[in-house]
């Protein structure tokens, strides 16, 4: 089983420095491209590879790049979205901390493909080890002539900077990220114009997830046909999957796209802890719909998870077990979303705290019959199309699916005037 993104990562996770990265084939893709591949050829290769964005939405990377106007003069930007803050998600951290040069090489290649002359790594403040690793790697890359003016004698120029954020979930939303980089509040922008046309400082801009970008050097080196063979399904490549919750061995692993949830939980995460049973899982962070027992054999790729009524999202599973209260579980997330709502549009700003309060009152045993209807109402009212960005619809995904699969638990909270899990000494 090939693991292009992580096979070179050391057991102790210390970052590979430039020499070490070069020893495992690092910057060969950059040399190849600088020697004589056109930007268009790189774009086409990525299109053929069928790589889909690993930031959550799964948008086709090559297609996204193709919207950038190539013939306009003036600056263009490429940004690595390293703001990882989706609850339950810890995959980009691994790449950022242990293999910073892979990201930088992926960024240079991607920037070249759209002929960007400036790039930023937008890094979450909490990732201190990653900040050190990237700072060091940037210095080395500049010294080696992989960044700056006339890269490897090709005439192509690229500057790259590390920007560490100051904490807000919304900074991960790509247009809010641009506002934050411009020194503004991280509220989203109206689309169109799309960032590819008018992004950072009004210039054409591509924002890609860290894991997406890390795939580019390998696609350039080994080709799109190879990339297609990595997965088990028509969604191509590998994915860094993760599992957290009450399993024996929580962790993250790079695996072919299309492994099943059962394999992830049983083979890789060592199965459920003794004394607890699987009840459900969010397949890709807090803003995805629950999957339950009947979905254990669903192939974890974009297409199949969508068919099962959820989204692959970030590919990091959060497990709900039978000793954990689904109402409390969902309330924890809705509280997060209510706090992190940027307050820009009314349904989200007013609706999420309402949802949070209703769930808290259910948890305290103060829920009323009509509360469940109110929750149902919110899942529609805050759903796609009714809010300015995807935060609120994302927040409704775990709630609507919990109301579907665990409705009896919600009803029991109302009828018994208490949380049954608390009674038993569990949560």
């Amino acid at each position: 089983m090939e693991k292009p993104l992580t096979h070179h990562i050391r057991d102790d996770k210390r970052p590979l420095d430039l020499k070490e990265y070069e020893k495992v084939g690092g910057y060969e893709a950059l040399r190849k491209v600088m020697k004589g591949m056109s930007p268009k050829a790189v774009q086409d290769l990525v299109k053929e590879s069928n790589l889909r964005g690993r930031g959550g939405a799964g948008f086709a990377t090559g297609l996204k790049w193709s919207f950038v106007p190539m013939d306009v003069p003036g600056p263009k930007y490429l940004i690595a979205n390293a703001d990882e803050m989706e609850p339950g998600t810890f995959k980009d951290r691994i790449l950022l901390e242990s293999t910073p040069h892979q990201l930088i090489e992926g960024m240079i290649l991607s920037a070249y493909a759209i002929q960007a002359d400036h790039s930023f790594v937008f890094l979450r403040w909490a990732y201190k080890t990653a900040a050190q690793a990237i700072t060091q790697a940037l210095r080395e890359a500049y010294e080696a002539g992989y960044l700056g003016k006339n890269i490897l004698g090709s005439g192509y120029n690229l500057e790259m900077h590390l920007h560490t954020g100051v904490g807000r979930y919304m900074c991960g939303e790509e247009t809010a990220l641009l506002n934050s980089l411009e020194g503004k509040r991280a509220t989203p922008r109206a689309k169109p114009p799309f960032p590819q046309i008018s992004g950072l400082f009004g210039k054409p801009t591509i924002v890609n997830n860290v894991e997406t970008l890390c795939n580019i050097p390998h696609i350039v080196n080994k080709g799109s046909d190879w990339f297609r063979t990595l997965s088990r399904t028509t969604d191509t490549g590998t994915k860094i999957y993760g599992v957290s919750g009450k399993v024996k061995k929580p962790g993250a692993w790079e695996l072919p796209l299309g492994v099943t949830m059962r394999e992830l939980i049983e083979e890789y995460a060592g199965g459920m802890q003794d004394g607890v049973k699987f009840r459900g899982a969010l397949p890709g962070g807090a803003s995805t719909d629950f999957l339950v027992e009947e979905h254990l054999d669903v192939k974890m790729d974009y297409t199949h998870v969508a068919q099962a009524g959820s989204r692959l999202g970030t590919g990091t599973l959060i497990i709900l077990d039978d000793k954990t209260c689904p109402v409390g579980f969902v309330q924890n997330m809705e509280h997060f979303f209510a706090q992190e709502s940027c307050g820009f549009c009314t349904p989200c700003r007013e609706g999420l705290p309402w949802v949070d309060k209703i769930l808290a009152s259910l948890d305290l045993g103060e829920g009323r019959e009509e509360d469940l209807k109110l929750l149902d109402f919110h899942t529609k009212y805050l759903g796609p199309g009714n809010t300015f960005c995807a935060l609120a619809p994302g927040a409704m995904e775990p709630l609507q699916s919990a109301l579907k699969y665990f409705r009896k638990d919600f009803e029991q909270h109302v009828h018994d005037h208490r949380c049954p899990w608390k009674e038993n000494g569990h949560r």
Partner: protein, 154 residues
């Protein structure tokens, strides 16, 4: 007044962006790094330097979780309260910290040593429960380790 060191660092940040104002978050970070938090006085100084009104700059400053507009202690404890840590029982960790330090979330110990804050997912959910103290990340935190951990920060 901004110090020479602060001005130097702010100028470095301005170099990276095409519009001066775009470096205002960086400027606030610089001031916070030097003074622990951003007082009204500091905010006004930064605003003046960045050619912004204090109101405009404050609308940015108050938006972000990690820019502190109130005094904080020498060390900041951030307890992850997001879902995976919740499932793994972070509440016991939180309660112990509250008890040991004698303060609630958002407060600072009277000796100015610690400020205790809740925080969203720290991106290490496979090692829940997690917390950070300043730049240090603590994974799989057990309550019986807390005394030894806190001892490191004076």
């Amino acid at each position: 007044m901004l110090s020479t060191a602060e001005i130097h660092e702010i100028e470095e940040a301005i170099k990276v962006v095409p519009v001066k104002k775009a470096a205002c978050i960086e400027a606030l970070k610089v001031v916070q790094a030097h003074r622990r938090w951003i007082s009204d006085e500091s905010l006004k100084d930064v605003a003046e330097y960045m050619k912004m009104t204090a109101e405009e700059l404050d609308s940015v400053a108050t938006f972000y979780n990690m820019l502190f507009r109130k005094p904080v202690g020498r060390h900041i404890i951030l307890v992850c309260d997001s879902v995976s840590c919740w499932v793994m029982g972070y509440d016991k960790l939180r309660d112990q910290l509250i008890q040991k330090l004698g303060i609630k979330y958002g407060q600072t110990t009277p000796d100015d040593r610690f400020t205790l804050l809740p925080n969203c997912c720290l991106g290490t959910c496979d090692t829940a429960p997690a917390m950070m103290i300043d730049d240090d990340l603590y994974k799989n935190v057990r309550i019986d380790q807390l005394d030894d951990i806190l001892k490191k920060y004076s």
